[in-house]
């Protein structure tokens, strides 16, 4: 089992996440959305990278959290931290309910199933336009700030908030991964039929992992809602589910930092490419993905690790 203690490189990494405040203060809004996406990818990593549950409908929980946070801010109160908790709970409840069905399937059936749930929820949100605002997005709320810091145009509070939430969730995820439960999940991923033989309740473990991932995805959605004061159907869309999968594969699944690195690279590349060429930037993103998949089949982190091990 890997050493559960923080390695020096990790301290460096998290110290670097503070750099945008000093080095690129005009990119803080982007940085806050990178942090949200990284958190979302982290949640997918828990189920895909560690438990082996392939999902093409993970945006369902992201959107659930986003809409819950938005509805609370609209109808009840605009204090974000408590809103975050409620959003986490609502996404968790949804995750728990769905987990009973989802964990019974593997591979292709699983992809179809998660995708189906995602589409159903997106369509439900579209139809319930009285509640969600439908295609126009949820309107009529504004989250002024967090703990007295204003969510302004420069995005300082937004990034600080998103980063803090990402870091806390990361610590939780890290703790889970290095626990016996985390080890059991990897066991299930490697051989689902063998795990019960050593007395591991496979389905219960998977349900738990799926619910935890749903909670974290819901938190990510809520942070996006709070920092932008917008919620739209896009938070539930298939595109978002697919994007986060691509991000995770790009960074390296099953590596905890894979989603974070993937999110940084994907979103920054997207921002730069689309800045240079707003019409045809998808070409370059596509090229980047093809290159990564061809030369670094285990993602960027997987590639780096292989590189480090080679000399021996």
């Amino acid at each position: 089992m890997e050493n559960a203690r923080f390695r020096p490189l990790e301290y460096v990494f998290w110290a670097c996440t503070l750099l945008p405040f000093l080095v690129t203060p005009s990119y803080l809004s982007l940085a806050s959305q990178v942090a949200v996406t990284a958190l979302f990818a982290l949640s997918l990593d828990l189920i895909l990278g560690y438990a082996g549950i392939v999902s093409l409908g993970h945006a369902a929980f992201f959107g659930m959290g986003a809409y819950t946070a938005g509805l609370i801010a609209k109808h009840y109160w605009t204090e974000p931290l408590s809103g975050l908790l409620v959003a986490a709970v609502s996404a968790g409840v949804l995750g728990y309910l769905l987990s009973h069905i989802v964990v019974r399937f593997r591979h292709l059936a699983l992809i179809m199933l998660t995708m189906g749930f995602g589409l159903l929820l997106a369509e439900a949100a579209n139809s319930a336009s009285a509640l969600t605002g439908g295609a126009d997005g949820l309107q009529g709320f504004h989250v002024p700030g967090v703990l007295g810091f204003k969510f302004d145009m420069f995005g300082r509070a937004a990034y600080a908030y998103a980063l803090a939430v990402l870091f806390l969730c990361f610590l939780v995820a890290r703790r889970i991964i290095h626990s016996p439960f985390g080890l059991a999940l990897r066991g299930i991923r490697e051989n689902a039929t063998r795990m019960p033989a050593i007395g591991a309740p496979t389905l219960a473990h998977l349900r738990k992992a799926y619910t935890i991932a749903a909670v974290i995805a819901g938190i990510a959605g809520a942070v996006l809602t709070h920092t932008t004061s917008t919620v739209s159907l896009e938070t539930l869309s298939f595109g978002r589910s697919a994007d986060v999968l691509v991000i995770l594969i790009l960074g390296g699944a099953g590596r905890l930092y894979g989603g974070i690195i993937g999110a940084i690279i994907y979103m920054v590349a997207r921002d730069q490419f689309s800045g240079v060429n707003p019409q045809y930037w998808y070409f370059w993103i596509g090229l980047l993905l093809v290159a990564v998949v061809m030369f670094l089949p285990n993602g960027i982190l997987g590639g780096l690790r292989a590189l480090r091990k080679k000399p021996q």
């Binding site: 005009s26 809004s29 959305q33 504004h142």
Partner: protein
């Protein structure tokens, strides 16, 4: 292409007095994905105006900075608008094909005090998001309520069955048409909504046919769907001479008419712009537009972009190049001009578009299917905006 224009702009600004003499217009557009065509038509409309009128106004050079939002994504639209203001120092925000994106950018306009021009987004409430915002496109109630009233009065139609696409604009159109039609004495005998990506309309049309209403109102986004619907009408044997089919301009737009063919004959639509209009101003516009857009014909997105640029130019002329948001929006209020679509005005109170709504019928003119206007409701204000005024 982008790079050359950048170098050109840099060279030109070196010749002119200094860099501060530039007015930057930030346009976060939906340049990739499903709505790329819409956004490009809008952008080309704006470019056509700049080609016709030069890129200098009130002694200042106009520079457009585009960003890609990638679809209906208000979080991205908001971030890009913020970045345009914070990083690129734009003076004006413009564009916005989609309502959620316009709503999100409205917050930025209000907070950063930037003049904002909505060139499409047609949900009425968009305009309330910022006091520095004007709209140069159209609002759904403006056309649909007007059409509902017209149908029940001048149109002499007593009953109608509504068929709309099951999404935001469809719901809004359905509500607007139904309420106005009923208020003017008509009855709605039934309604149906079909899914957004619906390939076959036979079942829906059959339901309408079973009721055999005097008229059918349809709202359907442009593209391939109007053709499928037209086909279903023909197949199910709905006679357009007996059953009047009413729709929005998108139902019989250029591509839709081409794919519907003769099935479209007799469809009555209400809309604010048609590129086939024989007004000289429009014919000149279409010609210019084709040269900018590689031969494409303009549509109502293009005219929104074109008139949006006109409003920016005229407002800048009035403020003598001052880009203060309050000064610009004050200058834009009450602006009146003759657009290729006809006369139009920016309502001094609501900052929304005021324009003619044309009632057209699809006819064959010289072997070509054309929307022939046969009635005009002059200078219609957004009815939803008028209601908001009385609520206050």
């Amino acid at each position: 292409m982008l790079r050359t224009s950048f170098v050109l702009a840099a060279a030109l600004s070196a010749f002119s007095v200094n860099a501060q003499q530039t007015v930057k217009i930030g346009m976060p557009l939906e340049l990739s994905g499903q709505f790329a065509d819409t956004a490009n038509q809008m952008l080309n409309g704006a470019k056509t105006y700049m080609k016709e009128h030069g890129d200098t106004v009130a002694g200042k050079k106009i520079e457009i900075i585009t960003k890609d939002v990638g679809g209906p994504a208000p979080d991205v639209a908001k971030r890009l608008s913020q970045e345009l203001v914070v990083r690129d120092n734009v003076d004006i925000l413009a564009g916005f094909a989609l309502t959620p994106n316009a709503m999100a950018a409205g917050d930025v306009s209000a907070e950063a005090k930037k003049f904002m021009v909505v060139m499409n987004a047609a949900t009425s409430a968009v305009i309330t998001k910022s006091p520095y915002m004007i709209r140069t496109s159209v609002t759904l109630p403006q056309v649909m309520e007007t059409f509902g009233t017209w149908a029940a009065t001048k149109g002499g139609i007593k009953q109608s069955y509504t068929m709309v696409t099951d999404y935001g604009p469809g719901h809004d159109s359905e509500a607007a048409f139904q309420s106005a039609f009923k208020a003017a004495g008509g009855t709605i005998v039934g309604s149906v909504r079909f899914p957004v990506a619906n390939p076959d309309f036979s079942a829906f049309v059959q339901r309408a046919k079973d009721i055999s209403p005097e008229s059918i109102f349809i709202f359907i986004p442009g593209g391939a769907q109007p053709a499928a619907l037209g086909k279903a009408f023909a197949e199910r044997g709905i006679d357009l001479k007996k059953t009047k089919v009413l729709g929005s301009g998108e139902t019989t737009a250029e591509a839709a008419l081409k794919s519907m063919g003769d099935n479209a004959l007799g469809i009555i639509t209400a809309w604010h712009y048609d590129y086939m209009s024989k007004v000289p101003l429009n014919q000149k516009f279409v010609k210019e537009y084709q040269s900018v857009a590689n031969g494409r014909n303009p549509d109502f997105f293009s005219i929104g972009g074109y008139d949006g640029m006109h409003a920016i130019y005229e407002a800048l002329k009035k403020t003598k190049g001052n880009t203060d948001a309050q000064a610009l929006v004050d200058a834009a209020k009450g602006l009146k001009w003759e657009s290729p679509r006809g006369p139009m005005m920016i309502d001094p109170e609501t900052r929304d578009v005021v324009q003619n709504v044309y009632i057209r019928r699809v006819e064959k003119v010289a072997g070509e299917l054309v929307n022939v206007p046969f009635d005009t409701i002059p200078m219609v204000k957004d009815p939803a905006g008028e209601r908001r005024k009385t609520q206050k």
